[in-house]
């Protein structure tokens, strides 16, 4: 986990409603989402830069902090179990 610089690249989602015999296991390629998002971020960068100047926010520090925040999601897992269903989400 230490030294992660990329956001989570994949996620696994497991949903099993109690009434179903088998659950659904999904493997989600999050990297595709990041790839799709990248051009939008690049387009938005000048506007974000202007906004940072306007509000007095350190732009590059903010970018680094946001990237670190996204990278920090590696290893996050959430498991919810109820009588009606069970949901498990894991970010890799």
């Amino acid at each position: 986990m230490k030294g992660e610089i990329l956001p989570p690249l994949t996620a696994t989602v497991h949903v099993k409603p109690a009434s179903w015999r088998f659950g659904i296991r999904l493997w989600l390629p999050l990297f595709l989402f990041w790839l799709l998002l990248l051009p939008l971020v690049v387009l938005a960068l000048p506007f974000l830069f202007a906004a940072a100047l306007f509000f007095g926010v350190r732009f590059w520090s903010s970018i680094r902090a946001v990237l670190a925040l996204l990278a920090g999601f590696h290893g996050t897992s959430v498991e919810v179990e109820r009588p009606s269903a069970r949901v498990f989400i894991n970010l890799h």
Binding site: M1, K2, E4, F55, G56, V57, R58, S61, S62, R64, A65, V66, A68, L69, A71, G72, F73, H74, G75, T76, S77, V78, E79, V80, E81, R82, P83, S84
Partner: protein, 138 residues
């Protein structure tokens, strides 16, 4: 006194560096020393775990198990570092209005490392009739 500190003081005594330079060097030495110790120790704590076990009379029992990487907390604290001073003051005022005496200027990576260090030995258990909450680090 460690060797590095003694060396700096010797250099000061011999007139090789000024008092200001010696102060800067000692400060840097302390910063590096504290940082290195805190990092190596806190690296052992990887996740914050939150376990909730509740018995809802209508919906039945519910179990929640959340694992939050410490890296995420560190990044969150880093994010607070880029908040402009004026916005920080507004946040502090809003917190004060709510009766929370908390200064977000005190949320620094160093303080977080100390907090993590203390969390390692701490388990928070909330236990009432229908709900059990357990927060701990692993």
């Amino acid at each position: 006194m460690n060797d590095n500190r003694r060396q700096i003081l010797d250099m000061l005594a011999n007139g090789k560096i000024t008092a200001e330079e010696a102060e800067r060097l000692i400060a840097a030495l302390e910063r590096n020393g504290v940082g290195a110790t805190a990092m190596s120790e806190s690296d052992k704590v990887k996740y914050l775990r939150v376990l909730v076990d509740t018995k809802d009379p209508l919906d039945g029992p519910t179990k929640v198990n959340v694992r939050v990487p410490m890296q995420l907390l560190r990044a969150g604290v880093r994010l607070t570092g880029v908040i402009p001073a004026s916005a920080r003051e507004e946040v502090n005022n809003a917190l004060r209005k709510e009766g929370i005496a908390f200064d977000i200027n005190n949320v620094t990576p160093q303080n977080l490392e100390e907090l993590i260090e203390h969390l390692r030995e701490l388990t928070v258990d909330v236990d009432n009739e229908n709900t059990k909450v357990r927060v701990f680090c692993e």
